[in-house]
């Protein structure tokens, strides 16, 4: 994968679920497909062989339904969690749920000819289902589910009108958060705060709200009102710097906030030409952000000016704020982007037309940051 050349991987069905595999040394991404046809959905594990630039995949069946959201466990590389939806023709109703699976093997690169043919034939293998959690009200729509960053047994499930923290061993509701009675704005997504343990940030219409999950009720730990002029679509916490988070929304903006002072974003760019569906901080270099938008682009943006520290003013000097690179290999809306957890300069972007693109940060920016 040389500079400017991205590697494209195509799937058969529409896709809007992507996750990097944590706790792994390989550049590995998991993709979930979205198809309403029964028994056609799959989870693809894609691995980029760094030395050769070859792409290897392994396909697993996901017959429980179409995948809306997928998260690999931060605690165990083989474990993953999908948020899925299935249609029952008899009741003509959709039901959503969250399932946790365990991959039979972490290996993707074929070891022998059998493996190779299996992969070439894209024969889907089985995963071990650990548990399935369903909402208390069956018709409730689940937006996403997130692993607790430390507690292996906890997950946070964001639903239309509530967030529930569940214990995956028992499936019990540990805590539940419902929005304040008056506005009844629906939740669209959410995430655990990596620094303040047990804080869960939720996107509610144009606002960001963070709840302490150990407390009952609806009081927020902090909130950013009107983070976007239109619906807020995604958020990501700065992995290295407390209080900083990035948000993306339907006003095509990428905003970075210090939530201690949430009046104005500390950084704001409007480089996309449609809604921004996702934003991710680079885990190693907090000044690099990648965003995906329904304008069919992934943009690599530098936010160096707000990453300067007192004693080191270097960052903003070597790197100018703004778009570093626009990745235009997608033909349809890009709903997911993820950095690799194993290699700081590689990321994957996934568009609705089932195209995964693995790209790199251009080399000259990499050298600028490193040197």
């Amino acid at each position: 994968m040389e500079e400017g050349n991205s590697i494209i991987y195509g799937l058969e069905h529409q896709t809007r679920a992507l996750s990097p595999q944590y706790e792994s040394d390989a550049i590995r991404f998991l993709i979930g497909t979205q198809s309403l046809k029964p028994n056609t959905n799959q989870v693809h594990v894609v691995e980029l062989e760094e030395d050769t630039g070859a792409l290897h995949t392994k396909v697993y069946k996901h017959d429980i339904g179409e995948i809306w959201h997928l998260r690999c466990s931060p605690h165990d590389a083989a474990t993953l969690m999908t948020t899925h939806n299935s249609y029952d023709p008899e009741t003509s109703q959709c039901t959503m749920g969250v399932s946790i699976y365990k991959l039979p093997t972490l290996d993707v690169i074929p070891k022998d000819a059998d493996d190779l043919s299996a992969i070439q034939g894209r024969i889907a293998e089985d995963m071990a289902l650990v548990t399935t959690i369903t909402p208390e009200k069956p018709e409730e729509e689940i937006r996403c589910s997130e692993w607790h960053p430390i507690d292996v047994t906890r997950i946070g499930i964001v639903m239309d009108s509530s967030v529930s923290v569940r214990d995956i061993t028992t499936g019990q509701v540990v805590n539940s958060i419902t929005p304040e009675g008056r506005n009844r704005l629906k939740f669209s997504s959410g995430k655990w705060s990596p620094q303040a343990i047990n804080q869960f940030a939720v996107l509610q219409d144009t606002h960001i709200k963070c709840f302490d999950t150990r407390m009952d009720g609806c009081k927020t730990a902090w909130n950013i009102d009107n983070a976007h002029r239109q619906l807020a679509r995604d958020l990501d916490f700065n992995p290295n710097r407390q209080f900083h988070l990035a948000t993306a929304g339907d006003d095509a903006a990428l905003n970075i906030w210090d939530y201690r002072n949430a009046k104005e974003p500390i950084f704001s760019r409007t480089d996309h030409s449609h809604w921004v569906w996702t934003v991710r901080y680079n885990t190693y270099h907090e000044q690099l952000l990648i965003t995906g938008s329904s304008d069919g682009r992934a943009l690599l943006t530098a936010a160096a000016s707000i990453c300067d520290t007192e004693d080191d003013k270097k960052l903003s000097q070597v790197l100018e704020d703004g778009v570093l690179q626009s990745y235009e290999q997608h033909e349809d809306s890009v709903y997911c982007v993820e950095w690799s957890t194993a290699e700081p300069w590689t990321f994957a972007s996934l568009s609705y037309d089932a195209r995964l693109v693995l790209s790199r940060v251009p080399r000259h920016f990499k050298y600028k940051i490193l040197l």
């Binding site: 309403l36 003509s92 996309h272 030409s273 449609h274 329904s294 304008d295 069919g296």
Partner: protein, 703 residues
């Protein structure tokens, strides 16, 4: 008988009887030879008569001369006897004169002594006079001082001073001197006190200092005292002036200022120069600058007062002030003051210009508020946007032109600064400032309004109007104003060359403002429609949708929203594009789900949803359509459809396609987005079966 030759010869001619070389022999010979006897006879008779005549004549002569000789001899004899007498007389005289000389020397010797005595007496008398003056001096001085004739006193004292110094060691003089010194000391003291009393006039002050100077006060201390006194006096003036700032108008103030402080300062400076000529200006410039800067400061305050903003009064006040300042600058003879005077004028002009463009801005804002309210109350249908645009534009242009004309008053040629090139330049700059500031303020205001649009609920018509206003001014207004200004300047001060102003910056500002207003309008309309579609798609249960009976109500609302924006835009941004009527007949033939692949998209252009809007009705409508329909696509993808749900969407899409194709001019764009929406719905459908197009047509028409 004889020609000149013979005459000449006659001179020597021995034949000429009257000649000196007459030769009687030759004559006789000649006569005998050539004459007849008769002729000889005649000749003889003639010669005899002539000889007789000559004889008698000679005798008379002899007698006469003899008489004379005898009388002369007698006279000589008489003279000889007379001279003897004279000699005796002369001897007597010289004797007498000798006597006189000795007498006179005797007398003078005797008189010498008494003359010396008289001289001595005279000088003694003079001395005594002086002494008397000295002895009387203290009383004289006192008297003079009491009568207030300080200058006489000082004059007397300075005269006496020399003598006193000379004979100061004599005891009697010492007492006089000490007495005088005391009196003079008192005088000095009283003079100083007088200097320090605040109500002394400047001329009195000058006089006092002059006297003190004559009394040999050291210069520097005198200068200090003088300046201190002057300063305290001027400070009083300043105080009274500053108290007047808020209570009088500029004319009165300037008059007072000119009459009081500037006049006094002039006197002070002139006196200073007169008295301390020898010293080169050491303290004076500082002093003058200090005072003047305070005056200027006050003047600025005066100019700032809102009551003094009227052009006429301001200019008259400024004129008076400037005239005085020019006079002052000659007195002070420092460049600082004259430069400062120019600055004051320029500042005044600038201030006036600033006030004007601020006023224009405020008034324009108020106007805009009215427009906004009327748009909000009237509703969009009845409003004649073109009318509003025209009135705003005319208003703005007239206001600017009026203020330019107003500023030209500074160039009236009866003003002291009216025809100066620097003033003309200042006016030109200020005029340009008015133009550029007003237009840039306009741009900024439009930009702010555009940004605020979502939060402040500004009518989109206003955005259209403002965008058009900016564009119109950018296209024509700037040039018109620039030419207007050039013409005004040409009239006001002919022959003055004014550098061409940079219009580019204004143009860029205006066009970006127009762009942002247009973008904001497009996004607003698009988002309004998008929001309707989003809510309607997300809230509906598409799985349990009944069989479609017509397009959903939301589609009509979307069409209405887009159409009202389109018609508003058509008022201001007419386009030549005529929608072809049969294009709406075309039905979307949806792609089969299988064709939903990257390949299809490869051949269609990428649609930039939030992109800069063109200043054109069709482009504006295109922009809004894109925003609305792309939102529809994205929302559809989040839902799951039953067969009826899909068919309902098919009807909706068909309806939208029919109604929206008359807006905008990019049918491909419209169709691509609607196709995208429908094919996305097909993908999200559990039983993807579309309706017969003919039925869709019927349903749509029925609805």
């Amino acid at each position: 008988m004889s020609d000149p030759d013979t005459n000449k010869q006659d001179n020597e001619n021995p034949l000429d009887i009257d000649g000196s070389s007459f030769n009687s022999e030759m004559y006789l010979d000649c006569l005998m030879k050539c004459a007849t006897l008769r002729q000889v006879m005649d000749k003889e008779a003639e010669v005899i008569t002539q000889s007789q005549f000559l004889q008698s004549e000679m005798q008379t002569l002899v007698y006469e001369n003899y008489n004379k000789f005898i009388s002369a001899t007698e006279t000589v004899r008489k003279m000889r006897s007379d001279f003897q007498i004279m000699q005796e007389e002369m001897n007597k005289l010289s004797e007498n004169i000798n006597k006189i000389t000795t007498f006179s020397s005797n007398i003078s010797e005797t008189l010498k002594e008494s003359g010396n005595n008289v001289n001595r007496l005279c000088s003694t008398r003079q001395l005594l006079d002086k002494l008397q003056f000295l002895f009387l001096l203290p009383t004289q001085l006192n008297k003079a001082i009491q009568e207030g004739r300080y200058s006489d006193a000082v004059h007397d004292y300075t005269h006496a001073q020399k003598v006193l110094q000379k004979y100061g060691d004599q005891p009697s003089f010492q007492s006089i001197q000490s007495e005088c010194s005391e009196i003079i000391y008192d005088l000095k003291k009283s003079l100083r006190e007088k200097l320090l009393t605040p109500d002394t006039t400047a001329s009195e002050l000058a006089e006092s200092v002059g006297l003190l100077r004559q009394l040999q006060e050291s210069d520097s201390s005198l200068q200090d005292i003088f300046l201190n006194c002057a300063e305290s006096r001027l400070e009083q003036h300043l105080k009274s002036l500053s108290s007047m700032v808020n209570s009088t108008d500029i004319l009165e103030w300037v008059e007072k200022c000119n009459g009081a402080i500037l006049a006094d300062l002039g006197i002070v400076i002139t006196c200073y120069h007169d008295m301390f000529q020898d010293k080169e200006n050491t303290n004076l410039p500082d002093f003058a600058d200090k005072v003047m800067s305070q005056v200027f400061h006050l003047f600025e305050d005066v100019v700032r007062r809102p009551e003094n903003i009227g052009t006429e009064i301001l200019i008259r006040g400024l004129d008076k002030f400037f005239r005085k300042l020019q006079a002052m600058s000659e007195i002070i003879s420092s460049d600082g003051v004259s430069n400062k005077a120019l600055d004051v004028v320029i500042q005044c002009i600038n201030h006036k210009a600033t006030m004007q463009h601020q006023t224009i801005q405020i008034q324009f804002k108020e106007n805009l508020m009215r427009v906004r309210q009327s748009l909000a109350t009237k509703g969009t249908e009845n409003a004649d946007l073109k009318d509003i645009l025209n009135s705003l534009q005319v208003y703005l242009m007239q206001k600017i032109q009026a203020s330019l004309l107003d500023l030209m008053a500074f160039l009236q040629n009866n003003l002291s600064f009216g025809l100066k090139p620097w003033c003309a330049k200042g006016v030109a700059d200020s005029c340009w400032l008015v133009i550029s500031e007003t237009l840039i303020n306009l741009s900024d205001m439009v930009k702010t309004l555009s940004v605020m649009q979502t939060s402040n609920n500004i009518p989109f018509e206003l955005l259209l109007i403002l965008a058009k206003l900016c564009l119109e001014i950018q296209e024509n207004g700037v040039t018109i104003l620039h030419n207007h200004l050039t013409r005004l300047l040409e009239e006001a001060s002919p022959g003055l060359s004014i550098d061409k102003k940079d219009t580019n910056n204004i143009m860029v500002n205006l066009s970006t403002a127009a762009q942002s207003a247009l973008d904001s309008e497009v996004v607003f309309i698009g988002q309004t429609a998008a929001q309707m579609l989003r809510v309607s798609v997300l809230a509906r249960d598409w799985l349990r949708a009944p069989e479609p009976r017509g397009p959903r109500a939301v589609c009509r609302r979307v069409v209405e929203t887009l159409a009202s924006a389109d018609s508003a835009a058509s008022q201001l941004f007419p386009t030549n594009f005529k929608p072809s009527s049969d294009s709406s007949r075309r039905t979307i033939w949806s792609r089969a789900p299988s064709s939903f692949s990257p390949i299809n998209r490869l051949f269609s252009e990428r649609i930039e949803v939030f992109s800069p809007a063109g200043a054109d009705r069709a482009a504006l409508s295109n922009g809004a359509l894109k925003v609305a329909l792309k939102a529809l696509v994205e929302c559809v993808r989040l839902r799951t459809f039953s067969r009826h749900g899909l068919q309902q969407l098919q009807v909706d899409v068909h309806f939208l396609q029919q109604r929206l194709s008359c807006m905008g001019n990019d049918e491909r764009l419209l169709n691509a987005l609607l196709e995208d929406a429908l094919s996305s719905a097909q993908l999200r459908c559990v039983d993807p079966q579309l309706m017969e197009p003919s039925i869709v047509d019927i349903i749509c028409e029925r609805g």
